[in-house]
Subunit: 201 residues, 2 copies
Amino acid sequence: MKTVILIGALGKMGQAALTGLGRHKVITAGRSGDVDHLVDITDEQSIEALYQKVGHFDSVVNTVGFCEYANFTEMTEAQWMTTVMSKMMGQINLVRIGQKYIADAGSFTLISGILNVKPIPYAIADATTSGAIDTFVKCVALEMPRSTRINVVNPTVLEEAWDVYGEMMPGFEPVPGKRVGKAFERSVDGFLTGEVIFVDA
Amino acid sequence: MKTVILIGALGKMGQAALTGLGRHKVITAGRSGDVDHLVDITDEQSIEALYQKVGHFDSVVNTVGFCEYANFTEMTEAQWMTTVMSKMMGQINLVRIGQKYIADAGSFTLISGILNVKPIPYAIADATTSGAIDTFVKCVALEMPRSTRINVVNPTVLEEAWDVYGEMMPGFEPVPGKRVGKAFERSVDGFLTGEVIFVDA
């Protein structure tokens, strides 16, 4: 049994990840709600505080990354930076700060999303930061300290979120959260590192 | 003959790009030195001023993007952000602001670099932002206005820069600047869009 910090535990992607973490002690974290620890991944001090409060942990599973959606021609610098500071730098900072605290041979699992390989309107900032995170994971795996591992789950839309996103994703086929949970499980319980684990229909 | 704004014209990559722009009117820009216009791509107002001063133009060729180099475990948030705001957001802002000014059917050509597909030590921020730019170009091409195009040149190290970078890139084979110039030429003079034009030995 590992101790896993699950960030964004109450969201739909967090609940999907949770289905793959059944054999572990899961410590829940998120920006609000009934979680073990509050954390804002856009705030370095909040991240550092989370790790210090938890103490020993083997794995970090992140399922959050806020994105702004707009046509490229209309998207503002502020909208870009909100996305960059959450989905991209928020996740990089989870690893950058977390590598000081995580147990030997521990693992980080980040989240990106299929829109960097299947683009749709309004999602340029989401796609660009997903591309950044997929690249980050593939490259940084080669220099992670103390046998720690890192992967990213790149899922298509969840069945559980289809009522929200389906209209903007014509021709996409959603997948059940349980299948995405298996991707997180492979990352946490396997020996993979530097992998972009795609989950698509 | 097109009017091409070449940013970073005095650098080694700018000189390489210039070899492919022989049939055009080239307006040079850069952060310092003997260029037609000074521009700092990390400053939105500087970018806007450049386009306003130039007036009519058909193409933007960018060859700059400052990166910090360090081991991941030692790289600071400030080093990350310097890289993100130049190589990534600086280039995105060149396009975001430039799409308002560029001529119909004009083109943007950005720069990334081979380290996102051939990782080396110290280059995680360079690789991550190159991955972001490659993804950005592939996706944003689908929504560029007024038949404008966008591509990115992703080169390996230049022969002309081997004395500076060769030591940190064992096993890489540099390419002559003229070959990289041809990639810029294909982007500016062809009908490609949404392409990552790799130049590798």
